[in-house]
Amino acid sequence: MKNNTSYRIEDHKANLVKMVERKNEILSQLALGKRIDNLNLPDVEFIKPV
């Protein structure tokens, strides 16, 4: 590794898959006319920067 981080590439791949699947799921729901405030996504944390 070029820097001092330590991780398994499998973890990164799993995270990436999760991100892609989550994004596609949200977009599919929004395409149906739902709004983000009404989506039922218990595992998703929305962040609003201060």
Binding site: T5, K13, R22, L32, I36, D37, V44, P49, V50
Partner: protein, 166 residues
């Protein structure tokens, strides 16, 4: 430059923001807590995943060629990153094989707004059945700038992606 932007006014909702274009199309723009660096314990700052989507189907005849959409997103991202703590990441959705077009549009939005304070990094991951275009924004004075950028580059290294995702 930020001053040259002509963004739409954002309406705040509980989880993010909404805006309506001149042609009447409604969009939602929001951040999710990103998993991108979850496995890197050294990266301890918030990583925000930017998402933008129209609400519902876009009516036939409504133009998507509206530079103010890009201005609106660019201003939100630059305002966020200029706080010097948050890092913003963006991945193109790839459910309809139009990710490359989205990526080009995304880059056009930000190409003319380089204010010198925000660094934009770009990556492309060939994950086998799809390609994940991804970008990252970080302030040049961010305390973890070097680590975040080098890790981002490392995670986009094609050598890492030679074996397929299981």
């Amino acid at each position: 430059m930020l001053s040259s932007l002509n963004p739409y006014n954002l309406r705040e909702v509980k989880r993010g923001y909404e805006f309506t274009t001149d042609s009447g199309v409604e969009y939602e723009v929001y951040y999710l807590k990103s998993n991108f660096f979850d496995h890197i314990p050294e990266i301890t700052v918030p990583i925000l995943e930017l998402q933008l989507a129209p609400i519902g189907e876009i009516p036939v005849g409504k133009s998507l060629l509206d530079s103010r959409i890009g201005d609106t997103v660019a201003k939100l991202v630059l305002d966020t990153v200029n706080g010097k703590n948050d890092v913003v990441i963006f991945i193109c959705d790839c459910k309809d094989s139009r990710e490359e077009q989205r990526w080009k549009k995304f880059n056009r939005w930000f190409a003319r707004f380089d204010d010198g304070d925000v660094i934009k990094a770009e990556g492309m991951i060939n994950a086998g059945s799809y390609i994940v275009y991804n970008g990252l924004f970080i302030h040049k004075e961010h305390s973890l700038r070097a680590l975040v950028l080098s890790t981002f580059e490392e995670l986009n290294n094609p050598e890492l992606w030679k074996s397929p995702i299981s």
